[in-house]
């Protein structure tokens, strides 16, 4: 009787674990890319992109300068189906540079671009615990 109880308990526990794993909520904010009316929008979190099961998606932004007179920022994203979005700005505002300097693993990035010129028309950085 005791043996039966122990085995039953083990099976129940294992079943619950597997069930919980299978039912785990999907990662928040995977990379999304949407294009319409001459604009593209891309968004997603570092955490979701990095830990996605497809190993295709990514998102990020970078800053570069020639250390003399010019600087530019660029943002890029690829979703799980392989679609990409990329934009740049060669005249970023100080606010843009400061926002990008604060990007970290909790960051949610959203950017919008003009598909004709390739220029970033909006960059949003959001950091919050629920992004993890």
């Amino acid at each position: 009787m005791n043996k039966l109880a122990i085995v039953t308990a083990l099976i129940t526990s294992l079943t619950a674990t597997v069930g919980a794993y299978a039912g785990a909520p999907p990662l928040r904010n995977p990379v999304n890319i949407f294009t319409a009316n001459g604009s593209s929008l891309a968004s997603g979190t570092f955490d979701a992109a990095r830990h996605s099961s497809d190993s295709v998606q990514y998102i990020g932004c970078s800053m570069a300068t020639d250390t003399v007179s010019s600087e530019y920022v660029s943002c890029f994203a690829r979703n799980s189906s392989g679609a990409t979005a990329y934009c740049y700005s060669s005249s970023p505002t100080l606010a843009t540079i400061e926002a990008l300097a604060g990007v970290n693993r909790t960051s949610y990035i959203f950017f919008k671009l003009n598909t004709t010129t390739g220029k970033c028309t909006e960059i949003t950085i959001n950091d919050q615990s629920t992004n993890l």
């Binding site: 530019y72 660029s74 890029f76 990329y86 060669s90 010129t117 390739g118």
Partner: protein, 156 residues
């Protein structure tokens, strides 16, 4: 007493005479013929008679005054920014080479690690206008799908 009095009277006489001579009223008689035109143009203008003003001379003088005033004011305008430093022949050759290389990379239609590295290297040789054009070429190519990105992360 007389020794003191004589020099005093002499010096008083000399002082009064000098003062009278230097008095403005005595220095020069007022020119009763002085007209406003003489005052306005410093007395060097064509003689003016109050009933018949020489308009062409006046016009010429006004033009001259305006011209000199404009010349003065133009000297006050801050000089424009100095022109950007002229590129040397070597730099121009490097820029031409960089533009050609980047055009080739973009026309290739595939953006991998090698293209990314070469693009970065060539980008620094370009002037700001050329750099802007190169970035635009790459960006619009990726977004339109004419360039297939095979590298993970930033294409730059």
């Amino acid at each position: 007493m007389t020794r003191i009095l004589v020099p005093c009277i002499l010096s008083l006489t000399v002082g009064v005479a000098a003062g009278w001579k230097l008095h403005p009223a005595a220095a020069a008689p007022i020119d009763s013929k002085l007209t406003p035109e003489h005052v306005l143009f410093g007395g060097h203008s064509t003689p003016v008679n109050s009933g018949n003003i020489d308009m062409s001379a006046m016009r010429a003088m006004i033009h001259e005054e305006l011209r000199s005033a404009l010349a003065d004011s133009s000297r006050d305008v801050p000089s424009p920014k100095p022109a950007p430093k002229q590129a040397t022949p070597e730099q121009l050759a490097q820029q031409r080479n960089a533009v050609e290389t980047i055009d080739g990379l973009v026309a290739g239609g595939v953006w991998g690690e090698e293209q990314r590295r070469t693009f970065r290297e060539k980008l620094v040789a370009l002037d700001p206008e050329q750099r802007e054009h190169a970035l635009q070429q790459l960006t619009t190519g990726i977004n339109s799908g004419t360039i297939r990105v095979t590298v993970d992360g930033s294409p730059l």
